[in-house]
Homo-oligomer: 306 residues x 2
């Protein structure tokens, strides 16, 4: 894999915000773009290796929505962690119908590895869990300003990206030290967005649909039947004035119920007056970052004690 | 003037963010859009009347750039002040050439009252200083959640809006309790953006050009020759990695020199690595809001003592 090249670089709250692009094997040779927020270097060198929080965005987003609207750099600086924001799908893959709607195809990869004909470039699960971390490691090393601890990762996301955060954490135990979500599509097999996406990416026949549950956070937690994180809560934030919540697309409460039934610590915050926008995310992001920072610090201690 | 109607409403950091629209007499009967950030009501009623900070945005912006990217609600909540974000020009006025470039006409009103033929709708100075405050007062009163103290106002802005903040404060002594600017077009008669805008709005002949200095912050401060705010600094923030700064469009240092010569307290912050973007604004906005909140609090005490 080629080392990502810098597309742009800016500064916020002392952090560098760098946008990168490279040709992605996982995404069928399309150009993949992602952004990385790195805290300021410590005086005298790169300092201790820093963990990374992966942020997965929602439908229609690129890497830039979170970067420009969430105020994340202030929290990355305070917690001294790296934040990685990937795109939400391959771009220009040429898959059938990928430009026909805003909730499927381009900008709507749903963080699964597609198996349907023509969707060979839609391998977002492999991209986020395997290829992107390698790309981030290469990019951060090439800069040399801070050091990355590639073994310590957490994951969070919004809406479709909340689905991504919860399912990738549940499908890859041990990969992430913690997971949280804003307004997640938390029970996709039971909502229109999920059914449309899973039909398109995973197949709609009975045999394929039987596998849908393995990409559904609520079903995964129910099937697991025991905690994923015994000592760290999974935090779920939901705006009570969110139209998609009212429409039944999100269903975070059903995931929370599954967590409780499985003995997983969970924090459920239904926020009066807040909607589906980045205003909502920006308001509570600092508390989520602090939760991940604590879990990642505990992971460092555990690793150190081995 | 009609009472503005609500276009949208969202919530951030406990504040309401409401976008309004109305038919603006000052702007030639075009539809004017603005946004207002109001802190949460106090328990038991609207509470003490709150002052307002007017934020003037830069070239190409609508009211939404600041609202979505600056993280302002957190500071409005902390300081308990109202923040008002107007658009940067009339829209659809039909003035000659208003859609031909991004630095003149639509999205580029430069906060002056135009006198050139066909630009009767471009009365941004009257709009911001007279009509908009009345529209805000009507809108806030109609909501009834918080009370507005219409007599206490401060002004800040970015780039073209930094020019607007500094010139409107200097042209209307006593109207604003304090003024500050990010990356201001601080000496417009000496930069390409300013010359183009002033030629188009104020006229390019010798007699008209003689009046340009009365819309130029550096020239206004030099002509004034004494402090505008005897006990409050005018704060100017500039990114050292800002391409427009390198190109000589901004010239905040020349305004700062004029302040010093006039005995005006001034804070000049040239920030290494920061560019012209809202990342830069978000990083330092909290410090600007705190400055304005202190000046507005002092204005309340002075008023109370009269």
């Amino acid at each position: 894999m080629e080392t990502p090249t810098e597309v742009s670089r800016t500064k916020a709250f002392g952090c560098a915000i760098t946008q990168y692009a490279y040709t992605s094997p996982a995404l069928g040779g399309t150009k993949a773009t992602f952004s990385v927020i790195t805290p300021p270097p410590e005086a005298g060198g790169a300092g201790a290796p820093l963990p990374a929080l992966y942020w997965l965005s929602g439908l229609t987003c690129t890497d830039q929505n979170f970067i420009t609207k969430a105020g994340a750099a202030a929290h990355a600086a305070a917690a001294r962690l790296i934040i990685v924001a990937p795109d939400t799908s391959p771009r220009g893959a040429g898959a059938p119908g990928e430009e026909d709607g805003w909730d499927f195809g381009t900008g709507a990869g749903f963080y699964v590895d597609a198996v349907t004909p023509g969707f060979g470039a839609y391998q977002m699960e492999t991209y986020v869990t395997v290829e992107l971390p390698a790309a981030v490691a290469a990019a951060v090393a090439a800069r040399g300003e801070v050091a990355l601890d590639g073994a310590r990762r957490s994951v969070a996301g919004h809406s479709m990206g909340g689905h991504g955060a919860l399912t990738l954490a549940l499908r890859h135990p041990g990969l992430y030290a913690s997971a949280s979500a804003f307004s997640p599509v938390a029970h996709p097999t039971a909502c229109p967005w999920g059914v449309k996406a899973f039909t398109g990416y995973l197949g709609g026949d009975a045999a394929a649909a039987a596998g849908w549950a393995t990409h559904d956070a609520t079903e995964l937690m129910a099937a697991r039947g025991k905690p994923l994180y015994p000592s760290t809560p999974i935090r779920v934030e939901q705006g009570a004035a969110d139209g998609f919540w009212a429409d039944g697309q999100l269903r975070g409460d059903e995931f929370v119920d599954a967590c409780k039934a499985a003995g997983q610590l969970v924090e459920w915050h239904l926020r009066e007056g807040y909607d589906h926008s980045y205003h909502f995310i920006a308001t509570f992001l600092g508390e989520h970052v602090a939760l991940h920072a604590a879990a990642l610090a505990a992971a460092a201690e555990k690793k150190g004690g081995d």
